[in-house]
Each structure stands twice: as structure tokens, then as C-alpha cells.
């Protein structure tokens, strides 16, 4: 922590070998994202195709994931369900990252009293978990993707800010900031042009972590029935539909569920690995 300049310099120079976590995480996350993107041009079966004579059948050559209680192809439903999960996560993460970075820069570079209250605000925001905010919004507004996006991003903002405030303060204390200031650069310019590029690796790590958390929160809410509403397919709801049929069709739960796990695991691994890769100093504690 005390030799921050070196740490930043090192992050800029040799990054060494790509950690295994980044490769594995990239493969997992890329596989799921790729399959979901593929659904826009191709799915094994149509979403409206009801194979009535083959309801709740296990995996087979024609239905790799088996079929659901209406005879729909579960691989198709899982690919389509990922659209809702991933797009809600993407929007929430984007909002969380943008406002979180702004809040962190503000809390690091604003005049002391404002900076202190911004930092305290981030602390309080974390204590209100997004699932509770989402449930409150679902009561007031009715369930749906809008409530979910608000709830997830409202929580992502302080979470991101809390991670970035410290590093942003450390960059502000470096000599080159003083040099820039002596050339007449204002605080706003310094925060955007000097501080932000220097904390960019941390922002990338945070985005990856938020993606994993977003998929987890979104699928939990849809599972509870307060997320994406029918007829739009979603991962969480597929699993809640599988629950009463658990004894007759375990594949209905296990295969779509495994896809959710692979997605979350992929983003988490990617985040962890990127932290090691982009920030060698911090990771030394874990690998030495």
C-alpha cells in the first residue's frame, strides 16, 4: 500500500503471463455470452415450437437440453432467457460503473467536507442490499425489468465507488499531479485526464465482478417472480418453473441451472484473474 507509485508503474510495464483464471473465465463467460448472442440469428428450435408428444423428455440428439412442460426445447429457452439476464446486467453495470466512477472521483477530489459526506453516502448505500430495494420497487411499481435495473444499479454505484475511492486518492497524492497543477490544470481536468486513466485497470476488474453479481441478482429476482414477467423467457423463471417438476424432470432444473453457474463463475474468475494480471503488487500477497 505504501509504494503506490511503483505499483502503478509496474501495472503499466510488464504484465507477464496471462493468468489461468483469465483464460478459464474468458472461456466460460465467452461461451455463455456467445450462445446468447447466437440466439439472435439461430436457435435449435423456434421459441413457439411446442413438441407436444415429447413433453418433459430428458436430453436427446434432437433436444440437447431436453424439453419443458410445454414441449419447448430447453436449450432454445435457455439461449433466449439469457437475453433478458445479460441485457439487464449490462445496463445496470453500465449505470453502476459510470456513476460509481463519478462518485469515487468526487469523493477523492472534492473539497474535504463534500468528499467526506460522499464517502459516507457510499458506505450507507452498501448496507441496503439490491434484492431488498428491488422488492420495495416491485411493490410500488409492480414487478418488471425496470424495477430490477433501478435496484441493481442503485446498489452498484456505492459498491463501485467504495472500491475506487482509495486508489483515486492515492493517485491524487503523486508528484505528477502536482506538476500538472503547477501548469495551471484545474481539479476537474486532473480527475478526468490523470486520475481516471490510472485507475482504469481497477474499473475493468470491477465491471467484470459486477457482471457476475448482476446475473446472480437478476436470476434470483426472476426466480422469485418479481423480475422479468412472462412471456419473456428468463433464466430465473425457467428454474422456478422447474421446481414443481423436480421429481419427474431433473434435467429441467440442472441444465439451465448449470448455464447460470457457468456464466457467474466465468465473470467472477475473469474479475479475479484480471485483478492479478493488471495489478501485480496487490496480488503478490496471494501468490507468493
Amino acid at each position: 500500500m505504501d509504494n503506490e507509485p511503483q505499483k502503478l508503474a509496474r501495472a503499466e510495464r510488464g504484465r507477464g503471463q496471462i493468468p489461468l483464471q483469465v483464460i478459464l473465465g474468458g472461456i466460460f463467460a465467452g461461451f455463455v455470452v456467445g450462445a446468447v448472442l447466437l440466439s439472435f440469428v439461430w436457435t435449435p428450435w423456434g421459441p413457439e415450437f411446442f413438441d407436444v408428444s415429447n413433453r418433459l423428455t430428458g436430453p436427446s440428439a434432437s433436444h440437447w437440453f431436453g424439453t419443458d412442460h410445454l414441449g419447448r426445447d430447453l436449450l432454445t429457452m435457455t439461449m433466449l432467457g439469457g437475453r433478458a439476464s445479460l441485457s439487464i446486467t449490462l445496463i445496470s453495470t453500465a449505470i453502476g460503473a459510470i456513476f460509481g466512477v463519478l462518485l469515487a472521483l468526487g469523493a477523492a477530489g472534492a473539497p474535504p467536507p463534500i468528499a467526506a459526506s460522499l464517502a459516507r453516502l457510499a458506505d450507507i448505500g452498501i448496507a441496503l442490499p439490491s434484492i431488498l430495494i428491488a422488492l420495495a420497487l416491485a411493490t410500488a411499481l409492480g414487478p418488471g425489468s425496470g424495477s430490477m435495473i433501478i435496484a441493481i444499479s442503485v446498489w452498484f454505484v456505492p459498491v463501485t465507488a467504495r472500491v475506487l475511492i482509495g486508489p483515486a486518492r492515492q493517485v491524487l497524492a503523486l508528484d505528477f499531479i502536482e506538476a500538472s497543477r503547477s501548469q495551471g490544470r484545474g481539479q476537474f481536468f486532473i480527475l478526468l485526464r490523470h486520475v481516471m486513466p490510472n485507475i482504469a485497470p481497477l474499473i475493468i476488474v470491477q465491471i467484470s465482478i459486477m457482471f457476475g453479481a448482476g446475473v446472480l441478482i437478476e436470476s434470483s429476482l426472476s426466480f422469485l417472480g418479481v423480475g422479468v414477467q412472462p412471456p419473456i423467457p428468463s433464466w430465473g423463471r425457467t428454474l422456478s418453473e422447474a421446481q414443481p417438476l423436480l421429481s419427474v424432470a431433473p434435467h429441467y432444473l440442472l441444465l439451465p441451472g448449470a448455464v447460470i453457474v457457468v456464466a457467474i463463475l466465468g465473470f467472477n474468475l475473469l474479475g479475479d484473474g484480471l485483478r492479478v494480471w493488471l495489478d501485480p503488487q496487490q496480488s503478490r500477497r496471494g501468490t507468493d
Partner: protein, 337 residues
């Protein structure tokens, strides 16, 4: 305890003047957070969605019904009056009644506390010792294959959504093996053995994520502790590295764990809401979801404040334990704020 001689020197008595001031400060922080939280809950539920009477009565209700409801709930009074009316009622235990089901909200919430408390406390009791053991093991083996396997398993554990995990456990232990009940809750007073059987799967479902998370913090805290002088001292006196870690290290590695626990409490409580609904446990989380789906604003409002208070009180406990374990924190908190 021999551990005392090697660790950072503990105070002669944990309950000194600084402890008292630390406790007061933590209590004050709890009060401020509770008031702020109640404001956020009130604003989210009462202002975001439009006319509250319409939401509660539903779209099919006649205008007369809606008007009568508005009158009886005092929704035509100014917003600040409603807020203080709610808060006053909350403090005196008068929570109002449910519109759809007609029950008294206060006594219904009181009845729902036991299953939630049993689930969350059970999870903490089970997962903290396991996380300490696994984290220590991973730290002692952290450059070996064994350590890597533990790390990878923890990473998978973090990625498992609690609702999926819960359903997989039901599939395996209830439907396939028939060992444990799939749903339902047995009160301790009715049948102690049945009580633990009904909680076994819910607690397991919730604990796996908590253990996976905490063990990673224990691991990195323990790796740091293993480099400290007191560990070298203990080894010089003839202890093995593992012996030194277990006898002296765990106590010191537990200190950062307590501060992490405070952050994990919110995750634990939301996880409990989900798990209660999978296993149909008649707890606060189950009541919360049915009230949310029924759009019972008045019930959800008080229920959320109860859950928030629960989170805050658990955090207070963690703070106090933190203060007792690590006297340096108390001084910092008192002078820092």
C-alpha cells in the same frame, strides 16, 4: 491460554472505558442508519409508485373501496405526518392490519421471526468454524495443488446461486435419497429432532455460499499472519507450522473475519429471503415475498424496516466483537469520528 503471550497484547479487561464509548458510538450509528433507512423505505414505497390506495386495493377495486381505504389508512394526510405516524406506530408496536388478509401486521411479524432467526443463526454457527478451518488449510497449502483445489472449490461455491443450490439439494437429499424433508418447517417446541431435520437443507443451501466467501478472506488473512514474528517465535519453541497456525494464527486471522462478517450480513439476510421461499419456511422472507406479490405496501414497509433493523443489530454485534478482539479499533473509532 498460551495464545495470549504471542498475539498483539490484548487489554487487561475488554470492558473498559474505551469499550463503553465504542459501544455508545456503535449504538448511535445504528440509530442514525435506522432513521435514514426508514426514510428510504418510506419514500420508495409511498412516492415512487403513485397512489398507494390504488396499489393496495388493486385494479379491480371500485372507487368507493379505494376512497374508504385511503380514509382508513390516512393516506390523504401530508406525507411527513404519515411518516411520523408510521414511525410512532412502529415504536409502540402498532403496525396496522393487512388489507387483503386482515391480520394484525405486528403479531404476524412476531410469529415469523423464529424460522428466520433459526435459519440465519444456524448458518452463522455452522459456517464460521468451517470457514476458519478451510481458510487455514488453504493458507497452509497455498503453493501446493491441495491449496489450489480448495481455492477452485471456493470459487465455484461463490458462483452458485442460493436458489439453484437449494433445489439441487432437494433433488439429491429429499427426492433421490429420501433422507430429509423437501419443504416445511417444524417448530423446536413441537419436535426438536424434526426441527433440525427441517432446517438441515435450508442451512446447508445458505452456508455453502457463506463458507466459500469467508474462507477466502480467512485464507488471505492467515497467509499474512503466517509471516508474523509470533509464528516464527512459536516455531522456534518447537511448534510445527500447522500447530502455530491453529494455536496462535486463527485467533488473529479471525479479527479481519469479523469485519468482513458485517458486510456479509446483508448477503446472508437476502439469501435467507430466497432460501425461505424455496423451502416454504414460514419466516419473514416468505411473508415479505407474499406481501410484495400481493402489493401490500403497508405490510412490506414495516417488514422491511424490521429486516433492516435485524441487519443493523447483527452488524452491531460484529462491531462489538471486533472491538473486543482488537483494542486498536476502539481507539481509532473514537478519535476518528
Amino acid at each position: 491460554m498460551g495464545a495470549v503471550a504471542f498475539g498483539p497484547t490484548p487489554p487487561p479487561s475488554p470492558i473498559g472505558e474505551s469499550m463503553f464509548r465504542y459501544l455508545l458510538k456503535s449504538l448511535a450509528l445504528l440509530g442514525v442508519s435506522a432513521v435514514l433507512g426508514s426514510l428510504v423505505i418510506f419514500m420508495l414505497l409511498r412516492t415512487v409508485g403513485g397512489d398507494v390506495a390504488n396499489i393496495i386495493a388493486g385494479t379491480k377495486a371500485s372507487p368507493e373501496t379505494v376512497n374508504a381505504l385511503r380514509e382508513s389508512l390516512g393516506l390523504n394526510r401530508p406525507l411527513w405526518e404519515q411518516y411520523f405516524g408510521w414511525l410512532g406506530g412502529f415504536i409502540t408496536g402498532d403496525f396496522g392490519t393487512s388489507y387483503a388478509a386482515g391480520y394484525a401486521i405486528g403479531s404476524e411479524i412476531a410469529r415469523r421471526v423464529e424460522p428466520t432467526l433459526a435459519l440465519t443463526m444456524g448458518t452463522l454457527v455452522v459456517s464460521i468454524p468451517i470457514a476458519l478451518a478451510i481458510g487455514t488449510y488453504a493458507a497452509l497449502n497455498h503453493r501446493r495443488v491441495r491449496g489450489l483445489v480448495v481455492d477452485a472449490t471456493a470459487q465455484v461455491g461463490i458462483g452458485l446461486p442460493p436458489f439453484f443450490l437449494a433445489l439441487v439439494l432437494v433433488l439429491l437429499f429429499s427426492l433421490q435419497l429420501g433422507w430429509l424433508p423437501a419443504t416445511g418447517y417444524v417448530y423446536f417446541a413441537d419436535d426438536p429432532i424434526g426441527h433440525f431435520r427441517s432446517l438441515a437443507l435450508p442451512i446447508t443451501a445458505l452456508s455453502i455460499g457463506v463458507v466459500a466467501n469467508l474462507s477466502r478472506f480467512v485464507r488471505s488473512a492467515m497467509i499474512e499472519q503466517l509471516g508474523e514474528d509470533y509464528i516464527r517465535m512459536a516455531r522456534a519453541k518447537g511448534r510445527t507450522l500447522r500447530g502455530a497456525a491453529v494455536v496462535h494464527g486463527v485467533r488473529n486471522a479471525a479479527i479481519p473475519l469479523v469485519s468482513v462478517s458485517a458486510v456479509q450480513v446483508a448477503t446472508l439476510v437476502t439469501g435467507a429471503v430466497i432460501v425461505e421461499n424455496v423451502f416454504v419456511l414460514p419466516g419473514l422472507g416468505r411473508l415479505l415475498l407474499t406481501s410484495v406479490l400481493g402489493r401490500e405496501v403497508i405490510v412490506v414497509q414495516s417488514l422491511m424496516l424490521v429486516i433492516l433493523l435485524f441487519i443493523l443489530v447483527l452488524n452491531l454485534f460484529a462491531d462489538v466483537i471486533y472491538g473486543i478482539l482488537d483494542p486498536r479499533i476502539r481507539g481509532r473509532e473514537v478519535s476518528g469520528g
